[in-house]
Chain length 373, copies 2
């Protein structure tokens, strides 16, 4: 097929590359570690070209079946990005006397939501973003929540508004979310943002955080390698022309990730609850994005040797050996996958920390648009 | 995989079904014809259950290799839809004393654009939609075109605005299109429309015409069969769970068609200029949407026996035997495809007339929203 109608990578994607590209030296040290398959330690940085060559090679393992996947350490990459954000926040503060502000709204007392919210607020504090805490009771009327959103829309010190989901059943989530002004929609869930994300030649104000994180995780690996060893710049996790399979099609992850990968020139297939024989489709993928919300659904045998596996799932499974009585696992059977994949993100410690970093980054970007005006 | 996060078919999709469902008896007579593979005639309605059984069966041909694909006669289906629109327009006129109005704006003297525009204006006249003709010279300044759009936005008798593309090089298309108020964006190209089309639980004000046409062509076949012979209602062109491959990813066809098919529960892959080995991916498809703009790119050998092939391409190829010196062909090698596919749309006479019908339908819908208020 001849190239047709493609206007090249968007500047948003280019921007993401720059962000990562600038820091590949630190990242390669922190992020490219090989672990023992349980994600528990004994990590060793990849430091010699033979090892990297083997991992890239044909994106497979050939005779070297016992080697493990390269683990993409989202926590380490996120830490680097957060340091950058902190330094930009300091710069804004010094130059303009203003800092970015993020309103985090929570309704009710769901434990998981509370834990996510407190993590986000803590992350804000660490980088110098002012957190506006709005805690509303479970029974708050929808109208009251909406009027709170309007108040935050009007507050010039608030540059991003996040309403923690899910909301209680008596509240219409869609209605509440569409009240957030698009200039402060740091979650990127507004349909106008999604439409611009989908369309060639258009760019959203904000990319949804998890898709942005997923994309950056993929790209960081690629750029790390370019920085590390020019020889390998054309192998590894290159998105263009690769077969990408996105498992799940939620508005907040699966759908926007698939749109983003399509814009980055992957050949994208979306697999979902009505797909016949998902294994056979997933097995063809060079890049797997697991976002189905099904604990350990994707088995080692479903993965093409050498594929890049980005696990967006976070599922609690019973585990009496843990104090909490449960542990978190992804949508991928990590232990099995490590034996087959070329690259993999662990759960926890993969996409999760990156998503929080992207929320901070979106807030910073929103603030810069306003403050620098 | 267990069902997850899917909120069911949107009412927009259901609405499309109803429109077609109501009329399947007329449609089955008009639309389901088998032709001789050149699309030139000798058509015969499918009228006996054995024939339909053979055509559906395993969606393939087995020992019966010489049989031809069922041709989906878009012209006939479009005619039925246009009759319905005409009757609704009469009803509006009788009850409210108002008719829908469509502004068709053309800049310059491109022959193909002029021919499309005159076709659209003629189609308006036939169903009683008032056409507002705006013909601007090639050199019109961008600002003047935009101020014309603003004027049409404000005109209460205009319910739809269509700016014929492409525009001359000195004019920024995206800028002009985004000046059209979303309530009159009958082409459905506004990013807010595309975002809502993409997202679960959201619905666009207008579906872009060609994707809407494509969807309806697929559905009409299905509903024809259900009406015709209950026995076969679960075979044939059922979208849910089927493998659909969309070839091309333009903002106006490929992208929105893929989003629509995903919403209708197909397993969707988008193939484009950077896809490696497109044949092998297309060969897996139960439903092929050809929208690459490459004359006869898709060969018979690329098609899975029994697949439904919807050809959105319209390409002019030299043909000295024609008075005009050229003829129009699709993205599919029609003659070859007829021997392999289960269903196929011809070019011309397939998706094209349906697209014009959808433009009229969108204009009617826009007008009803305003007039009935």
């Amino acid at each position: 097929m001849k190239p047709q109608n493609f206007s090249g990578e968007s500047s948003l994607i280019q921007e993401s590359k720059r962000t990562v590209g600038e820091n590949f030296r630190q990242m390669i040290k922190a992020a490219m570690v090989a672990v023992d398959g349980r994600g528990s330690g004994s990590s060793r940085p990849i430091s010699n070209s033979k090892e990297i060559e083997r991992r890239n090679g044909n994106m497979g393992y050939g005779s070297d079946q016992k080697k493990e996947a390269t683990v993409i350490d989202g926590k380490a990459i996120a830490q680097t990005i957060r340091s950058e954000i902190a330094s930009e926040v300091r710069h804004l503060s010094d130059k303009y006397g203003k800092v970015p502000g993020l309103a985090v709204v929570i309704v009710g007392t769901r434990k998981d939501s509370q834990s996510y919210v407190s993590m986000k607020r803590k992350a804000c504090a660490e980088v110098g973003i002012k957190s506006f805490d709005v805690d509303l009771p479970e029974q708050v009327p929808e109208a009251e929540l909406i009027s709170k959103v309007h108040e935050l829309n009007a507050d010039p010190d608030v540059h991003g508004i996040l309403v923690q989901l899910p909301l209680p059943k008596h509240i219409n989530e869609e209605k509440v979310l569409s009240e957030i002004t698009i200039e402060k929609d740091v979650d990127g869930f507004h349909p106008l943002n999604i439409g611009k994300l989908a369309m060639k030649g258009r760019e959203p104000l904000f990319l949804p955080c998890t898709p942005k994180a997923t994309y950056l995780v993929l790209k960081s690996e690629r750029y790390s390698k370019i920085g590390c060893l020019e020889l390998l710049s054309r192998s590894g996790i290159n998105i263009k022309g690769k077969k990408a399979v996105v498992v799940g099609r939620s508005n907040i992850v699966g759908l926007p990730v698939s749109l983003l990968l399509l814009k980055a020139d992957a050949t994208v297939t979306v697999v979902h609850s009505h797909t016949h024989d998902p294994e056979s489709i997933i097995r063809e993928a060079d890049i797997i994005i697991a976002a189905a919300g099904q604990a350990m659904m994707i088995k080692g045998s479903w993965i093409k040797p050498g594929a890049a596996v980005i696990d967006v799932g976070t599922n609690a499974v019973d585990d009496p050996s843990k104090k909490a009585g449960y542990r978190l696992v992804g949508d991928v059977d990590y232990k099995e996958a490590c034996k087959v994949a070329g690259w993999i993100t662990p759960v926890p410690g993969g996409v999760g920390p990156m998503t929080v970093a992207m929320l901070l980054k979106n807030t910073l970007e929103g603030a810069k648009r306003v403050i620098k005006q």
